[in-house]
Amino acid sequence: MKRYTKDRLRRSMMFVPGNNPGMIRDVHIYPADSIMFDLEDSVAYTEKDTARLLVYNALKTLNFGNKEIVVRINDLSSGLGVMDLEAIVPAGVHVVRLPKTDSAQDVIDCEKEIARIERKHGIEVGSTGMMAAIESANGVLNAREIAHASDRLIGIALGAEDYVTDLKTTRADGIELLFARSMILNAARSAGIAALDTVYSDVNNEEGFIAEATLIKKLGFDGKSVINPRQIAPLHKVFMPSEKDLNKAYAIMEAIEDAKKRGSGVASLKGKMIDKPVVLRAQRLIALHEAGLRMDDGED
């Protein structure tokens, strides 16, 4: 049985440092759609072993409810990535996040290791999902090939800090990321997988965070990584459909149902014909709203 679902709500993916037992203990109380335990940049080189053991034991014993469980491994070229996979695949991770993905071959190499480990432990081959983080100019230019590199991929993500360094610039108002975001989004959509945006590091700047979240939602992203629980509620609010849009979506679906009952292949609302993209958008909006209501049960 697959541990992951390709089509699910991924508005928020919360980073949790892999060597922080307090945050690992508390993470189930936050309403993030996905939790991402990090074995890479947030863990000192001398503590890679302890973090790996901590995440392994946490995945094996703690109950994280219906959240998607992602682990960011170290890159394979470091030698640490395979050691991470050896631990987290048997521990039951839903999705492996591959960092610094520059090419389709990086995804293929990682998938081979995952399949080998699944086989070794008698786990159904293909049951572990993957996502690829793109963090370089090369990766952005290869985004389409990366997005199509494996059936296990649930999405591709932008890792902006390394990317802007590679571009010889810094994070600013978002214009510096426009090309990368557009490439990643189009590559993800061409492969039918999720497009996930980078972190917003200034946790005290809620206004800036909301502006960035609004921008990436407008572009078409499914969601965004968050580094602090305080960022989850405002992010979900940005992704919540407005009442006006929701009413229109329900009216469209009612008009479609009426047309079906009348045996008519053509539906219209207020004199305007409803074509297929309009129906798809309405269905997505309603699904997002209903999923949001379910996931946010108890959220502020």
């Binding site: 072993d49 053991l53 946490a58 014993t61 703690l62 050691m83 048997p90």
Partner: protein, 98 residues
Amino acid sequence: MKLKVPSTAGTMESNDVLVSIKPAKSGGIQIALQSNVMQQYGRRIREVITETLEELGVENAEVEATDKGALDCTIRARVAAAAYRAAESSDYHWEAKK
């Protein structure tokens, strides 16, 4: 698993446990435990430490543990990390979740 050198793993931060292990030739697994929840969980913490070391095939060791309210999975992780470090081993035994 044969322990070779003294080692430590973990931290003194809240929800963590700092574990130090020294190899010993005899005497079984001896544990010196400090915990801010000694009254309620002292016995359980000792059990988890002993179980973890026994599963790794450690028969004799001197263990010092300073617990700051760690969950069982954290105690297991820190004890195992200290043991692998003490054995200078990276031959980890990962098992599939049941």
